[in-house]
């Protein structure tokens, strides 16, 4: 990459540049919106080792191991990824670091692309680690440097919390001239009382953690990233992250306490600020994290009675909350049909879900593009909880319903999700003599987050060729009774496999394998068209939910040749051979 001093960068790109310029040597992550581009951008630097780990727990463990080797490291993940990595995260707080360790949690208020909107600031409190919250790209860049220094100086992992509007907003970033040289020499020094957390050693380390947090408390009072901006004294606003930007726009002349280090909080500074203003507000997204702690100091403050807990904030919401008045709405357009995201034309997943719907299966689903099959007309997915949950849930459902013929359930998940956290659950089915059927929709990429490599694609994040996980052999090795592979474009084969395996009294794994269409954008096939002489308007083909298919005014099917990818799904569904190649 070219390096100039001022750049237009997203928060995620700024974090990547910060990691590079402040000397990070090893970085690991599992992709997840809104965090994905952090590692993708770090991977472009020749002097940083970056990898996709199969999940966030492994990513964090890799980063912790590397930091014990004395180098600066980083692990990044979306908010729910930190749940997966919570186990190493909590005890990493005890063992501390050698080289600097930063853990990035990218939260998604508003759930643009997530299954919940948990507020990960609580993790900093619970695990007793310091937390930094940048509010724009420039801060994202600089705070990475401060986080790494803080980590080394206080012997602690640092939680670095961003949100979608920081990660995916671009702004101007003033960069340092060049990458700093990290002063510590790489090397591992044995130190069991610090690194081996048996109860006896862990008890001592817990004492250390409490002392460390007391020292960080002092830092919080004096660090310039917690600053008061005095304006008019009628209104004072305590805020952090992107909420600061909204509040600055809404009340440019008010006084602000802008917090960058949000755990531990600067109690004296908050006290001083509160005493200096007439009316005190806390403007924060999601939970009353700052508010509750400020109230616990005995300081009266206006917070969640004015600002919502649910959803992301916006400039309007902040303005209305501060003034207590609702803005008069203009005559908004009505009856605007929503444009929800949908599976792409020709997506092999459509064929799989069309068939599962036809067989009336209970589908325990998972996290990925295929979650979109919950929307009409497919409406096939019956549960989505968290990464990898489909397999355990299908097993549980089957155990609950026993031999009930109604219990025709399958677990459905993608290749990347299976590698993330499906393997142990599949082993559990085999071990506990379950008879559930698991379907891996193997499109050979991590599609939803933008086509990242994984352990079964044959290539690493930094482009090195590598062995591919063999799903068939793995299923057998775990003890699954029947393992078979089908091409989802062959609808009859797929239906036969699903029907037989769901009815069979044994455990099964079906691998429905076909590359994601977007991976091969260049190889577009001849689009299809409908022969109006043959089409009787039964609309069976429309049940695939393909965006290229719609109805004409006389009720017959039609295909939009601009977006049709020429796949063979709808032509196999049509009983009258009315779908043909566009000549």
């Amino acid at each position: 990459m070219k390096s100039t001093t001022t750049k237009l960068l997203s928060g995620n790109e700024a974090i990547a540049w910060g990691a590079h310029d402040y000397g990070v040597k090893v970085a690991a992550a599992y992709p997840g919106t809104p965090s994905t581009e952090i590692l993708e951008n770090i991977a472009r630097f020749d002097d940083v080792y970056a990898e996709w780990a199969p999940n966030e727990k492994v990513a964090l463990e890799v980063a912790i191991g590397a930091c014990l080797g004395g180098v600066r490291t980083l692990a990044s993940m979306k908010h729910v990824g930190l749940n997966v990595a919570a186990d190493p995260f909590f005890t990493a707080s005890y063992i501390g670091v050698n080289g600097g360790l930063v853990i990035i949690s990218a939260d998604d208020p508003g759930m643009h692309s997530s299954q919940n909107e948990q507020d990960n600031r609580h993790y900093a409190l619970a695990a007793k680690v310091p937390m930094l919250e940048p509010g724009d790209s420039q801060e994202a860049y600089e705070f990475i440097g401060q986080a790494l220094e803080m980590s080394e100086q206080y012997d602690t992992p640092v939680l670095f919390r961003v949100t979608t509007r920081v990660s995916h907003s671009k702004g101007l970033v003033e960069r340092k001239a060049k990458r700093i040289k990290h002063l510590r020499e790489p090397g591992f020094v044995k130190n069991p009382p610090k690194y081996v957390m048996v109860p006896n050693f862990a008890r001592q380390r817990h004492e250390y953690v409490e002392q460390r947090m007391a020292r960080l408390h002092e830092l919080s009072e004096t660090t310039p990233i917690n600053r008061i901006e005095w304006g008019r004294r009628e209104v004072g606003i305590v805020t952090s992250g992107v909420a600061y930007q909204y509040a600055r726009d809404a009340r440019p002349r008010a006084s602000f306490l802008k917090l960058g280090l949000t755990h531990p909080l600067p109690e004296n500074l908050i006290q001083e600020f509160a005493e200096g203003v007439k009316k005190l507000f806390v403007v924060e997204e999601l939970d009353p994290y700052l508010e509750d702690q400020i109230k616990a100091l005995g300081i009266p403050v206006l917070g969640k009675e004015r600002f919502p807990i649910c959803g992301e904030l916006s400039p309007e919401i902040v303005k209305q909350g501060l003034s207590g008045k609702k803005r008069k709405k203009t005559d908004s357009p009505t009856n605007v049909p929503p444009r929800p995201p949908a599976l792409c034309p020709g997506c092999p997943h459509s064929a799989s879900f069309y068939t599962m719907k036809k067989l009336k299966l209970n589908v325990m689903g998972d996290i990925g593009c295929y979650t979109l099959s919950v929307a009409p007309p497919l409406e096939t997915m019956d549960s989505t909880l968290c990464m990898g949950a489909s397999i355990g849930m299908a097993h549980g459902l089957d155990k609950a319903l026993g031999e009930d013929p109604e219990s025709r359930s399958v677990a459905v998940l993608g290749d990347s999700t299976f590698l993330h956290s499906g393997i142990t659950s599949l082993m559990n089915i085999a071990y506990n003599r379950g008879n559930s059927t698991t379907v891996i929709l193997d499109n050979r990429t991590t599609a939803m987050t933008g086509f990242q490599e994984h352990a079964a694609t044959g290539r690493t994040l930094q482009g090195v060729e590598t062995p591919e996980v063999d799903f068939e052999a793995l299923g057998k090795a775990l003890g699954i009774d029947s393992v078979r592979t089908v091409d989802p474009y062959k609808l009859k084969d797929l239906e036969k496999a699903l029907k037989e395996e769901v009815e069979a009294p044994h455990s099964s794994l079906i691998i429905a394998r076909r590359d994601c269409l977007l991976l091969k954008r260049g190889e577009r096939k001849t689009p299809k068209t409908v022969d109006p002489e043959k089409c009787v308007g039964c609309n069976l083909c429309l049940l695939t939910g393909c965006p290229a298919l719609s109805q004409t005014s006389d009720g017959k099917a039609q295909i939009d040749s601009v977006i049709c990818n020429g796949c063979p799904i709808c032509e196999q569904i049509c009983k009258l051979d009315a779908i043909i190649d566009l000549s």
Partner: protein, 190 residues
């Protein structure tokens, strides 16, 4: 140049994020502070896509407050309608003459609203319909609709034409630069 808030709305795949990027480069090179916000991930799979572009002496919020955008660039008619509340009353509305049915319409569950352009014109007198798709095809590639619209907005902003062209040349892959510059010129009009 004064502060500008520009709201871009369209359908995933229309090149909205790239158009927003070009606006940012132009404003940045004109010496302004600039911020841009958009959403990636699940929302992008053929869904409604928006980008907020803000510039000025100093920009705080990356999101444009509702009813405050100086310009709304609608890459598709229904999307212009969906996001029209972001445009201030006397703001400029550039809307591409193109209709892309959402799945809620193709499935027959809802109807694509009729007379969108009339509704928009009535609400915002400064509405201009741009024949984006037609001009893009004339330029030589239907995928250059975004450059046509960048051309159209370049007339509304007091920045020399050369700077726009430089931003396009900088940001677009070399082999597509000429066709996009042509599309830009057609959108800008002579």
């Amino acid at each position: 140049m004064k502060a500008q808030d520009i709201f871009l709305a369209g359908v995933g795949g229309q090149g909205i994020l790239l158009a927003g990027e070009i606006l940012c480069i132009v404003f940045m090179e004109a010496g302004l502070d600039v911020k841009k916000s958009e959403v990636h991930g699940m929302a992008q799979r053929g869904g409604s896509v928006t980008s907020h572009v803000r510039c000025g002496r100093k920009v705080f919020s990356p999101l444009i407050p509702e009813g405050q955008a100086d310009v709304l660039m609608g890459f598709e008619a229904l999307e212009a309608l969906r996001w029209v509340d972001f445009l201030k009353e006397d703001g400029v509305l550039l809307v591409n003459r193109q209709k892309i049915n959402p799945t809620t319409v193709t499935s027959g569950r809802m109807e694509y609203p009729s007379r969108i352009y009339d509704v928009l014109k009535k609400r915002h007198p400064k509405t201009r319909i741009v024949d984006g798709l037609k001009l893009a095809r004339k330029a030589g590639d239907a995928r250059t609709v975004n450059s046509v619209l960048v051309g159209a907005i370049s007339r509304e902003v007091n920045i020399p034409e050369e700077m726009w062209k430089r931003a396009i040349s900088k940001r677009i892959p070399e082999k597509f630069v000429d066709v996009n510059l042509h599309a830009f010129e057609l959108g800008r009009g002579r």
